[in-house]
């Protein structure tokens, strides 16, 4: 079957909150081994798209296939990095504990994590440059460090496809570089990485595949094919020149502040 060649296949996906469509009739075919950005304006349904693929939001219609089978059967192949702001970072737990949560699924019910899970978690923390922070209380982490902890937790899930919701949101330049290096490593290992992304300026540099949505799917394909000015205009409603100009400005302001 041709389907087996695709890592993610979404057909006719429609999601509505209280009669208001958030996603409308989305079709998506993603080959394995790509680094894909999902871009679109605020409220376009980027997060909802990821969440409905992961079964966290119940779609009104449509189906999702992961390597040709329904998500429920393929959970083991999927890793997830939620938005950093979606959890309470004052929760009484340590960095190592959070990362070990990525092994809970593999552990199964009731069994507690042990030395093996600990070692796996430490390895992942080393990979994201957080090896010195294993016993740190999570409330003491900076935004960039929190993001790395979430990435490490996804790494120990040992997945084939990763969904990441705005991993670059509010992180420092060092973390951004560390994350993109890591994503490229994952791609080199043949994994598929889907990233909700905000910064249009870096799409061509970071990603090789892109999906533009604004409630409906505007375009999806390689960056060369899909990331065109016309598609951007369709997604952002004709304000793209103004928008990309503005984005440049805000980037400059941002880098000034950081520097």
């Amino acid at each position: 079957m041709e389907n087996d060649k695709l890592s993610i296949e979404v057909a006719d996906l429609t999601v509505a909150y209280h009669d208001k469509p958030v996603l409308w009739d989305i079709d998506l075919s993603v080959p394995p081994g790509v680094l894909m950005a999902i871009v679109g304006p605020n409220g376009a349904g980027k997060t909802t798209l990821i969440k409905s693929i992961l079964g966290l939001v119940k779609p009104a219609a449509g189906q999702v296939l992961i390597y040709g089978k329904p998500y429920e059967e393929q959970r083991n192949l999927v890793g997830y990095v939620p938005q950093r702001g979606s959890v309470d970072w004052d929760f009484p737990t340590s960095v190592l504990d959070v990362v070990m949560m990525g092994r809970y699924r593999a552990l199964g019910w009731i069994k507690r994590p042990g030395k093996k899970e600990r070692d796996t978690a430490m390895e992942a923390l080393d990979k994201v440059g957080m090896g010195d922070f294993i016993n740190r209380q999570i409330s003491q982490l900076s935004g960039g460090q929190q993001q790395r902890v979430f990435l490490a937790r996804a790494l120990v899930q040992d997945a084939e496809i990763y969904f990441m919701d705005e991993p670059f949101q509010g992180v420092d330049a060092t973390t951004e570089r560390a994350i993109i290096t890591l994503l490229r490593e994952l791609r080199a290992e043949g994994k598929t990485v889907v990233v909700v992304h905000h910064d249009l300026q870096t799409v061509t540099e970071y990603f090789d595949w892109v999906t533009l949505i604004n409630v409906r799917r505007i375009a999806s394909g390689t960056v060369d094919e899909a990331f065109t000015e016309q598609n951007l205009r369709l997604a952002y409603g004709g304000r793209v020149a103004f928008l990309s100009h503005k984005q440049k400005q805000s980037d400059q302001v941002g880098s000034k502040q950081q520097g």
């Binding site: 079964g55 939620p82 309470d88 009484p92 949560m101 699924r105 009731i110 209380q137």
Partner: protein
Amino acid sequence: MTEILTLLKDLFTDYTLRTVAMGSATLGIVSGALGCFAVLRKQSLLGDAISHAALPGIALAFLFTGSKSPLIIVIGAAIIGWIGTMFIMSIVKHTRIKSDSALGLVLSSFFGFGLVLLTFIQRMPTANQAGLDTFLFGQASALLERDIVVMGVLGLVVLAIMSLFWKEFKLISFDPDFAASNGFPIQKLDILITSLIVIAIVIGLQTVGVVLMSAMVVAPAAAARQWTDRLSLMIIIAAFFGALAGVSGSMISSLTSRLPTGPTIVLCISFLVGVSMLFAPNRGLIWNWLRRQRNRRKLQLEAVLSNLYELAKQHGSIDRAHSKAVLEAMSPDRAESVDSTLDELQKRRWARVTTNNQWAITQKGWDEVERFLKESSKK
């Protein structure tokens, strides 16, 4: 003093006192432990709704069976409390009403219904009706050994389930989306954990009463959070605080006649919350205040020392001394503290006072300034 000793002796020998203490310790441990999950899941008010919603359950259990046996009352309270909770959860899920409004709706309507039933029971021409209204504010002295057995068994079951599903509860409390993406049935786990909280509350109703039982869910957890950053330790501390407040509160109320138990226990746990908020290391207010003071002091020291350093640099000599007025003029917003800061600098041998009462930086102070200038430029 001798009174306290007698009281402590009675705790082990006196039947009533021992029963009361054991009962309130049990309720404190169970509600303290489960309360941690309620608080961490931002469901503090859920306890309030559950305990109020349980009141009609108590009345209905009596109406249907004519018995006031603790097991039957607890079962009635648990069933109606649980129904109330499921009501809240499904209102939030299926309507646009937010959870705080849903809590309020269920709490007041169930509690109102319970009060109506209680009034109705009190007017019934049977001899057996008295005493149900003690469930409003609780009455520890009415606890019997068989009550303790019921409480103890239920408590053990609740704590056993909690430790069995420890990993899963921790995960859904911290990051429910991640748990769901991993295939954990968060809705079922949600119902399970809430049901455990219902049982924890129901255990305490006879002692603390429906009106104030929610304090035993929220307060021990809130106090324990101040002392630790680890979930397991937080639960142990909360259980300990709950037991401590339960025992001391019910003993105080049993010493004085007509002092309702619930409010006394709640005052005890509130005291523990107050102490924790003030004195706990790291998170406590006093600790914070001390830390701020220390930081301010350090900044002041660095500021005055830097001024001396600048002056020495300008004049090209480390031995050139200046009057205090010059230093005060250099930091006008901290002028009044320059005196004490200079004393401290002298104590640390970072600055010295000359014979004509003028101030100069020392070599040691000079090195210190260079060190922190280097440090801050690195950042």
